[in-house]
């Protein structure tokens, strides 16, 4: 019951100085509101980007390369010997992943894993006296839609038509526009090996990524092998797994078993992922600064109240209130301000999210206008609220403690 007295006194003192209370409450509310909004935006865009990274490309790519040049056989023969070699050229291997069919079959046996061989290379696409250099990908259309999101980006035709049409290709709308090509037109494709083929446009895609839209050509693996003059060869194994977070581990495992350079999506995007850490540090610093300012506001108002109310504190203590009762009176004021600020901040956050939700903007590198990716999770509200409460209580703690240490006789002696 007695703690209700402390709360009653706290409430009375707060409502008595309504203006300052509202100002310091607004400070907290701003902090919480902006935290909710920025953090929703930041983690929303992070999730969105990571999702894109994870979905757009295979999780793991096995390449027909090695991380380090193969050692000369003589070094293997005499590991402890004093051997020196100069002016040697490493032996040229026939490029390509050996036994790619068996390897694909092997990894595909694991649950949730989809894998396919691919052959990549370059070629020139020519039409009506214009030409564009292009990256060629010889793929398996049935599996490609699980490996990348290209299927979702198809504007006309489809990847599956590669199967039915003979000598079909799928290109980006950007390339089609540059060459003046349309659906079912026949383009000339010229490989560095000098092979020239006339191929039919069976699909047009638009990903929003200029590099792909103007420079990527998909065809059947078999067609690519002919075009690039590499029969039965594949130089990539592309793998999608159930849990993208396991990609690094699995890539390391495959690399140690097969020897080929095997890249996980994390490895490919490491600098990008590092950027998120920096971004989060910046976000939390700014929000932390807003909260610190709000906390100083609370500290300020409660310190002022404590000084102004010294007489009241002394009289309460002379009446028989304990130091801890007095401490509660002022702590509760901090909690009040923190809680009201928290609730108001949540509402402000909701309004800000509503507003941000209507904003459309152009993202560099992508052509389409994008809605801002927002993550409207309970997490943001929870953390924002926790921030508010903790900083309010921390800010109130020091003056409250000071108030509890007031010696009433000093004040009463001075006052009478």
């Amino acid at each position: 019951m007695f703690w209700r007295v402390s709360i009653g006194i706290a409430a009375a003192q707060l409502s008595h100085r309504r203006r300052q209370t509202i100002v310091s409450t607004l400070g907290v509310a701003l902090g919480v509101g902006f935290f909710v909004a920025t953090s929703a935006l930041m983690s929303g865009s992070e999730k969105d980007m990571v999702q894109r990274l994870v979905d757009n490309a295979p999780h793991i790519t096995v390449k027909d390369e090695f991380r380090t040049a193969a050692p000369q056989p003589v070094f293997a023969a005499y590991p402890a010997g004093a051997v020196s070699l100069s002016n040697t050229k490493p032996r040229e291997y026939l490029r390509g992943v050996k036994n790619h069919g068996a390897k694909v079959e092997e990894v595909s046996r694991q649950t949730g894993v989809i894998a396919a061989s691919a052959l990549t290379g370059t070629a020139i696409v020519r039409y009506a006296a214009k030409d564009v250099s292009a990256a060629i990908a010889g793929i398996d259309p049935e599996k490609e839609r699980f490996l990348t999101t290209i299927e979702e980006d198809m504007r006309q035709g489809s990847l599956m038509r590669l199967r039915t049409a003979s000598q079909g290709i799928v290109i980006g709308e950007g390339m089609a526009a540059r060459l003046g090509l349309g659906m079912d037109d026949l383009a000339t494709v010229v490989s560095p090996e000098g092979i020239v083929r006339r191929m039919k446009i069976v699909g047009l895609f638009r990903t929003g990524n200029l590099i792909l839209d103007e420079g990527q050509v998909y065809m059947l693996l078999k067609d690519a092998q002919v075009l690039l003059d590499k029969p039965f060869v594949a130089n990539r194994i592309r793998i999608k797994i159930a849990d993208p977070d396991m990609a690094e581990e699995m890539a390391a495992d495959l690399e140690s078993r097969w020897g080929y350079r095997t890249e996980s999506w994390q490895e490919v995007n490491r600098d990008f992922l590092g950027l998120f850490v920096v971004r989060n540090v910046i976000t939390y610093s700014i929000v932390g600064a807003i909260m610190a300012v709000a906390a100083f506001g609370i500290f300020n108002i409660i310190s002022t109240v404590v000084i102004e109310k010294r007489r009241d504190i002394a009289i309460l203590m002379s009446m028989g209130f304990r130091g801890s009762d007095i401490q509660w009176v002022f702590l509760v004021q901090g909690v009040f301000v923190g809680m009201i600020g928290m609730v108001m901040g949540w509402m402000l956050g909701l309004v800000l999210l509503q507003m941000l939700g209507t904003v459309e903007m152009t993202v560099p590198g992508l052509m389409d206008k994008q809605k801002l990716p927002l993550e409207k999770g309970l997490f943001q509200f929870g953390v924002g609220g926790l921030f508010a409460l903790v900083s309010a209580v921390a800010a109130a703690w020091i003056p409250a403690r000071k108030a509890s240490q007031v010696r009433p006789v000093d004040i009463i002696r001075g006052a009478t």
Partner: protein
């Protein structure tokens, strides 16, 4: 004579300032239950200081303060606060009411803190205390809307809230005009005579001092005379 309610044994209080100030010096004093004692003396003679020591608001530099025969030396601040809450009622020269609260709420605060009565009983007791001092009609007002005499009566009502056996008053009529001063004086006389409370009142007012059966006169922090009539 009845038992002692508060007792000072060779109490000295020195303020440790740059130049140490002795507030009271080597005081021996016993106050019995039901006594009405006035404390007089020139300004600066240590009357207030003595009252703070009797009321456990201040601690002696040396000597002992006994309440109900119990030595309070070494009691924690919380323990002392609990004794003040249940056994003591202070009335100061200035009313010291809390400005945010209504008159009634001010009077009920000590009871709410003590928590012995229910909320409804507390309100009823608050109202009846106010009625005793003929200010029940002011219950819902804030202190600043009252006259000086009315405020001081509220302060007395608050001091009585937890029905303490000992009332300590520091110049309770100091700020009041003649008429109000007489009213408050009358209240203190009645508290002692009719309700059997112990009342110790510091005053400059000769009439008030003479109305008490016992008078302690201080000079320079010492008891110069202790007269019972």
């Amino acid at each position: 004579m009845s038992e002692a309610i508060v007792e000072l044994r060779s109490v000295t209080r020195v303020l440790q300032e740059v130049v140490p100030v002795t507030l009271v010096r080597d005081i021996d004093l016993t106050i019995h239950r039901g006594e009405f004692v006035s404390v007089t003396g020139p300004s600066g003679s240590g009357k207030s200081s003595l009252l703070y020591l009797l009321g456990l608001l201040d601690l002696p530099t040396s000597g002992h303060v006994l309440i109900d025969g119990e030595d309070t030396a070494g009691f924690s601040p919380d323990h002392l606060a609990d004794i003040r809450l249940a056994k003591l009622g202070f009335v100061f020269q200035f009313h010291f009411l809390l400005p945010e609260f209504t008159v009634l709420h001010n009077v009920t605060l000590p009871m709410l803190r003590l928590g012995r009565l229910g909320e409804k009983e507390i309100r009823e007791r608050g109202m009846s205390l106010l009625a005793d001092f003929e200010i029940a009609d002011q219950a819902k007002k804030r202190p600043e809307q009252l006259s000086g005499g009315q405020r001081q009566r509220v302060a007395v009502a608050r001091a009585l809230a937890n029905d303490p056996p000992l009332i300590l008053a520091d110049e309770p009529t100091g700020n009041l005009d003649m008429r109000n001063s007489e009213i408050v004086q009358g209240i203190f006389a009645r508290l002692a005579a009719e309700q059997g409370r112990t009342v110790i009142a510091v005053t400059h007012d000769k009439d008030f001092a003479d109305s008490a059966p016992r008078n302690i006169h201080l000079v320079d922090g010492r008891i110069e005379s202790d007269v019972k009539r």
